[in-house]
Symmetry: C2
Amino acid sequence: MFVRLIAIRALVVFAGLTLTPLASGFDGPVEKKTFALPSYTTVGGKTIRNVKVGYETYGTLNAAGDNVIFIAHFYSGNSHAAGKYRPGDAAPGYWDAIIGSGRPIDTDRYFVVSADMLANVNTKDPNTITTGPASINPDTGKPYAMTFPVVAMRDSVHVHKALLDSLGVHKLQAVAGASGGSIQAMEWGALYPELVERIVHVIGPGFDISPFVVEMLDVWTLPIRLDPKWNNGDYYGKEEPVDGVGQALKIVTITARAHGWAEKTFGYKWADAAKNPADSMGNSFAIQDALDKAGAARGKSTDANSMIYMAKANQLFGLGDELKRMKAKILFIPASSDMIFPPELSKRAAERYRAQGGVAELVIIEGDGGHLDGVFNVAKQGEAIRAFLAR
Amino acid sequence: MFVRLIAIRALVVFAGLTLTPLASGFDGPVEKKTFALPSYTTVGGKTIRNVKVGYETYGTLNAAGDNVIFIAHFYSGNSHAAGKYRPGDAAPGYWDAIIGSGRPIDTDRYFVVSADMLANVNTKDPNTITTGPASINPDTGKPYAMTFPVVAMRDSVHVHKALLDSLGVHKLQAVAGASGGSIQAMEWGALYPELVERIVHVIGPGFDISPFVVEMLDVWTLPIRLDPKWNNGDYYGKEEPVDGVGQALKIVTITARAHGWAEKTFGYKWADAAKNPADSMGNSFAIQDALDKAGAARGKSTDANSMIYMAKANQLFGLGDELKRMKAKILFIPASSDMIFPPELSKRAAERYRAQGGVAELVIIEGDGGHLDGVFNVAKQGEAIRAFLAR
């Protein structure tokens, strides 16, 4: 299979084709599976019954159960990290460029697992399986809405650890993730120092959330809370706050981008070539129109309350003294133009980890795409990841 | 007076006092005056009748009318750039640290003028005088609301030029401003190349707005547009969208700040020491609570529609080929941690200006206060401004 894929790829490149299902990194069939726990008690002491999360695996678990890499997902993402469900899928998983046969996270060597978080925001996406405010509370038969317990990042990590136990995993060669995924990777390292060999912390905050981002997460979800249809979270079965969700996703996008990206992608183009923005208060620029439309489209599969719960989970991140328990080698990969978690935060965290005797490496994704360079351009540091996994 | 002030300042420093009215930079009495034009026709071709803007002056105009520096204000500011109206005022004008007797913009030498913009947002502040959407349309006897014409940055500049003509100004030694004020300074240079000797462009975009900021300005005013009380701008005499305005000002503040500022000012403190944010979705962090309260307080004197008009004026900025007309020497002063107009934008503009034969200098305000370092910490480059004015 490996040799055949390479041959086909060469043909594809030669023919000048750039989009074909066979060119995706992970070539096997990707299947969304479900992991269930009868109950889970949060770090805050609240018990949630009938917990379900979706997961995907790429590659094969070895007999020792020690060739495993876990991929944790970011705020608006899910566990679809690589490959395609069907050959005709429009795009592969978000980190397909670095996960697959022969790629830096090599599925010929590693058994790669990714799982949906608790309170994942994509509740209406059929390929996301999660337990959160949109789930039915077995005690009432109705959606939890804002009565769902607060869930911290490590609550998802605890559930994902139970998943890995069920699969027979005995060693994690690495936990890797971008943004919110990088936070979970740190939680894994602090919670399970004997299990986790390496952490790949891509576009992350280091060992605690930045207070600036605590406030930015408040701003991200503000349009939801201002939408009268949000109704303090009580909207299930009614008209949902889709406008607020769309505008919230718009803010997520622009704050996760940067000046160069905006200039290259949209420049000063008008939304409508016949409507000069100088002529009327209602006439806008292309970037405004495009991000409004993208937010609205994405908003259709996104749950408003879950965006608020996911913001809270990020806001609560901070390892404190638990950092001292961590043993994993850490590779920090900030993006040069990231304004959410600027490279300075990773540099400072790397110094702090070295000061306590830890092994910390740092490489930067150079670019002008902002925070999202850690998702779309992670392959720029793919070889650094490959080398780090071999150390 | 100059000698006496210095002596008193020395005493103040010696006594360890940090707040006293006599320590303000401009020592003379500051008075808000009104400049009126019977009518003004915008660059978009719309005529506004009964135009009024407030202004302040510091220092004395010489006989030749050529010792003048104009200070243009930023998005949420007004013409109160220096001094105090009354000795008991809580704070002096925003750039008092660099404007005054013996200060870099020395009122013993220069006649300094600052004026309120059209559509200034502070309509309910008695020290702001402006003409904008909250003004009465003489044709209807009612507030313009969203029928007020689109006003560009250069519309305010045209009105301010008429003000300076009325005062007998024949030469501008400099036009200086922060952020939106820096944009107006560029407009002055392009519109009146024979009049303007120097431009001090503090925390500015260069010669055109960044598309990233076009979108951020959209985000700034989003909470207003989402507030049902905004009612498409028709709220005068009714309940006003004060919640939307307060939340909008909150977004302005956090996006105009930076990571270091948030960490030093708030850290990870909880809004209420008895309410752990991990315990409940409603419990928040100190930074959230403080910015909510500051926005709400400031929102009481701020007009919702004017924030939208001011955002539009910023979005429309771009000199295009008119840059070639500019002759003024330019001093660029970006702030190192500014994420609205990062230093890279000023560096690029300086190179572009030099490439067309212009004189461009650049110094950076080092700090972690973000964009607002150009307002609160401009004195860090006060001596660079003093030296530039002497060249």
